[in-house]
């Protein structure tokens, strides 16, 4: 295991800056998720690290070894010692499970018990050795692909949206099995994904990419609770973004007066998480008190454990609130909304 350091890496394709001055530190043995919408350059970043592409500028190093950088001849992929788990696993169709896992091993290692060890690591029975890739489920293929990449003890493992082709049930269990295998071997890992739940639930560090740039890297809770801008907030989890006027500790917006996490002044954008908005029915509220802002329920998405409620306020602003599944309003109900807890404010550029 070694750390992975990316400093100021840029790669352009024609006029497009697919990866634009990205700097990222992945500590040894940790798991980092690069999160971004499709086309944000996250896969290009991964291919640069793997050595399938060479950066235009910037430095990539594994521990103390610079594999690409100014004045350094780019180290070809086959000598970088990176494990690569592509989408859908890409198992070699002409080889059985043992042949796939042992592909990167020397003849002696293949004869030893490394292959059984790796099967054990990804929680599959050793009886799988003789299976062909087409006899495996999608989740099993992904586990074998991970075992194949880990077998030669790579410095870093790169995972390119490995769970996106799996169905919802398999995705969670496969992802956790992969996470356990990586933790057990203390392997430095970098996962590329567009799925925020995957990134937040698996990674030690989440790096959010947008249009080739790395906009924020922090712990999962750091990215969720203290997003660096309103776009990150809406991308990582749902958020209601409202214009407001701030006056020190408080600001006033369509949902009334709210208290701020940090003092601000003038026009700001507030980022409010749906679970911060409480919904009460009109009849429940005490007349005249701090009941909240009036609105009509438009739409209800019932998830069982909770429900998402879209409410149109009297001033036509549409907001999303999350309420417990036990008691939920129905479309057409008149409700009162209030913000609980503190809210993050971002300075809003004044234009006209």
């Amino acid at each position: 295991m070694s750390s992975l350091d990316i400093v100021g890496v840029t790669r352009t394709f024609g006029p497009t800056r697919a990866v634009d001055a990205v700097t990222l530190h992945v500590p040894p043995g940790s798991f980092t998720a690069v999160l971004g919408p499709s086309g944000c350059g996250k896969t290009t970043l991964l291919r640069l690290i793997a050595g399938f592409l060479v950066p235009d500028s910037g430095t990539i190093s594994f521990g103390d070894t610079v594999v690409a950088g100014p004045g350094v001849r780019p180290v070809p992929p086959q000598t970088r010692r990176v494990g690569y788990v592509p989408q859908e696993g890409a198992l070699f169709p002409h080889l059985d499970v043992a042949g796939n896992i042992g592909f990167g091993l020397t003849r002696d290692e293949r004869g030893g018990d490394r292959i059984d060890e790796m099967l054990d690591l990804v929680e599959l029975p050793t009886a799988f050795r003789a299976r062909r890739p087409d006899e495996l489920s999608g989740g099993q293929q992904q586990r074998i692909a991970l075992a194949r990449s880990l077998a030669p003890r790579p410095a870093v493992v790169l995972l390119d949206e490995p769970f996106s082709s799996l169905d919802a049930g398999l995705r969670g269990s496969t992802a956790r099995a992969v996470r356990r295998a990586l933790a057990a071997t203390a392997t430095t890992a970098l996962l590329v994904t567009h799925d925020q739940n995957e990134a937040l639930s698996l990674a030690d560090q989440v790096a959010v990419m947008r249009a080739g740039r790395l906009v924020q890297s922090a712990s999962p809770s750091g990215v969720y609770l203290t997003p660096s801008d309103p776009e990150v907030a809406t991308f990582v989890g749902q958020a209601v973004v409202l214009a407001a006027d701030a006056d020190g500790e408080r600001a006033s917006c369509a949902l009334g007066e709210v208290s701020l996490l940090a003092p601000a002044h003038g026009p700001v954008s507030l980022v409010i998480r749906p679970e911060q908005i409480t919904v009460r029915s009109e009849v429940e509220h005490d007349v005249g008190g701090t009941a909240g802002v009036r609105g009509v329920v438009d739409e209800l998405s019932y998830y069982g454990h909770d429900s998402a409620v879209r409410v149109t306020l009297d001033d036509a602003t549409s907001v999303l609130a999350r309420v417990p599944g036990t008691a939920h309003p129905v479309p057409g109900d008149i409700v009162r909304l209030r913000v609980t807890g503190q809210v993050r404010a971002f300075a809003r550029p004044v234009n006209g």
Binding site: G51, F52, Q78, R81, Y84, A90, H94, G104, R148, S149
Partner: protein, 490 residues
């Protein structure tokens, strides 16, 4: 290699230019040429029409209805592919000399070539998602109307592709038409070449023939257009529920059975009859053995060279897409449209003018085979290489293997089956090739096809029979391979 494939085209273009417009006009503006043009075009159009109607109707009957013994019928309907058209022509005319001229040729070529439409249409019908038709029914379309509005458009590429193959085969057909005494450009070029070696007249006719071939290719490209027929969504399609015909299936069965009788029964009967007649008089084992050995060694050399040549073409086309690689790949397809007679003529003239030493050498003959059959190898090998996506190479590199090791341990094992299939297809195509072999084979080299030809064109039908049998036997594996190839999902 691609340049070699262009030699025939360049030859036709250059020699036509050298002739000059005045001479060319003089050679072409003759009643004989008008007659040949009329013969060729009517036969091609009539046969293309008939094979499309037969191929689609038979495919729909076998795939979409509950016709009895459908599996057996399918096998029998494909069987004519294993009988070279010239053998089929021999079978008919040796049975009844009235089968000749336009109608004889139309009958024999239609019966020989309808599987070229039938097979691809069956393949499409098999993987067509029944949900498409079901959606049409649920929108209120009748079965007949939804077949026309939903299924037929999906069949369009298969029908066009099949009809193009039929057209190109007919333009190139020499043996069957010559036996059935129907003159087209191909038979006339051969007569011209054989009797007087009148270079410029043969060349002028060859240029018309090439023009007709290219016209077919372009018409096919245009009709195909840019429409997309991809099946959206993933997962395997369900099987189709066949249409219950009720009592109507018996007349349909009789109709299909009659066709099978004409297409398979008649040639089989005729061949067996001549074998029995010939067995008492002529069964020259030594000659048969020598012809078989010559055929096998030529076909082996040709298959090896052709498949080897296909690999770089395919590699460029799949892994390094760009205008140059597309051009190289396409140029081999143009060669596919060139009849064996033109390739033969071009190589005869080119070798006599440029390198007389190689004229009538086995090497030149193998080169002609390579030009003729490179497209078949390219298609097969290409399908194989597309099963070996680049990401597998990348995984191999990331596991520490260099590019050469990756080629040996990943790419080669993955494309090996398609290399084998490509080589086998070329091998079998060469063993039944007649036209170029007649023109280019070294003196003293007798193959199954040329021996068969020598006997049957001298009306020694009994002597031709054992060679015909061997030609059919050699073609059977090719047919099986082709059918397997059709089943590979696109």
């Amino acid at each position: 290699m691609a340049i070699l494939a262009l030699v025939p085209l360049l030859y036709v273009a250059f020699s036509t230019l050298l002739l000059g417009p005045a001479d060319l006009w003089h050679l072409l503006a003759r009643p004989r040429i008008t007659e040949l043009l009329r013969n060729t075009v009517t036969l091609v159009l009539a046969c293309m029409g008939a094979t499309v109607v037969l191929g689609v109707a038979l495919a729909a009957a076998v795939e979409n209805t509950d016709l009895p013994v459908r599996r057996l019928l399918h096998g029998l309907l494909v069987a004519p592919l294993a009988v070279p058209a010239f053998v089929n022509g021999y079978a008919w005319i040796s049975l009844d000399s009235r089968v000749q001229g336009f109608f004889g040729s139309f009958l024999v070529t239609t019966l020989s070539y309808y599987p070229l439409v039938y097979l691809p249409v069956v393949a499409v019908l098999r993987r067509l998602d029944p949900a498409l038709e079901e959606s049409a029914w649920s929108l209120g379309h009748s079965r007949a109307r939804s077949f026309r509005t939903v299924v037929l458009p999906q069949l369009r590429p298969a029908i066009l592709g099949g009809a193009l193959l039929v057209g190109l085969h007919l333009l190139a057909e020499f043996g069957a038409l010559s036996l059935l005494r129907f003159s087209t450009f191909t038979t006339a070029i051969y007569d011209q070449y054989g009797s007087t070696f009148n270079g410029s007249a043969a060349t002028a006719m060859a240029s018309v023939l090439v023009f007709l071939c290219l016209f077919l290719l372009l018409a096919d490209l245009r009709l195909r257009g840019n429409r997309r027929y991809a099946r959206l969504g993933r997962g395997a399609a369900r099987g189709r529920t066949p249409i219950a015909l009720g009592p109507a299936r018996w007349p349909l069965l009789v109709g299909v059975a009659m066709l099978v009788t004409l297409a398979v029964g008649v040639p089989a009967f005729s061949l067996v009859r001549w074998l029995l007649v010939g067995a008492s008089t002529e069964f020259p084992l030594a000659d048969l053995g020598a012809a078989l050995a010559a055929t096998v060694s030529l076909a082996l050399a040709g298959a090896l060279l052709t498949t080897t040549a296909a690999v770089p073409v395919v590699w460029l086309a799949v892994r390094h897409r760009g205008w140059a690689s597309t051009l190289i790949e396409r140029s081999t397809y143009i060669a596919n449209a060139l009849p064996g007679i033109v390739v033969g003529l071009a190589l005869v003239v080119a070798s006599l003018r440029l390198v007389p030493a190689i004229y009538q050498s086995a090497g030149l003959l193998v080169a002609a085979y390579t030009i003729l059959f490179l497209p078949r190898a390219v298609v097969t090998v290409r399908a194989g290489l597309e099963q070996a996506p680049v990401v597998l190479d990348e995984v191999s590199l990331s596991l520490g293997l260099g590019p050469l090791q990756t080629a040996r341990r990943v790419t080669l094992p993955l494309i090996a089956p398609s290399l084998g299939a490509g080589a086998a297809l070329v091998f079998l195509a060469i063993s039944t090739e007649l036209t170029a072999t007649l023109m280019l084979s070294p003196i003293g080299t007798r193959t199954l096809a040329t021996e068969f030809w020598a006997a049957s064109s001298e009306l020694r039908y009994g002597a031709a029979a054992p060679y015909a049998l061997l030609l059919v036997l050699v073609s059977i594996p090719a047919t099986v391979l082709l059918m397997r190839h059709e089943k590979v999902p696109a």
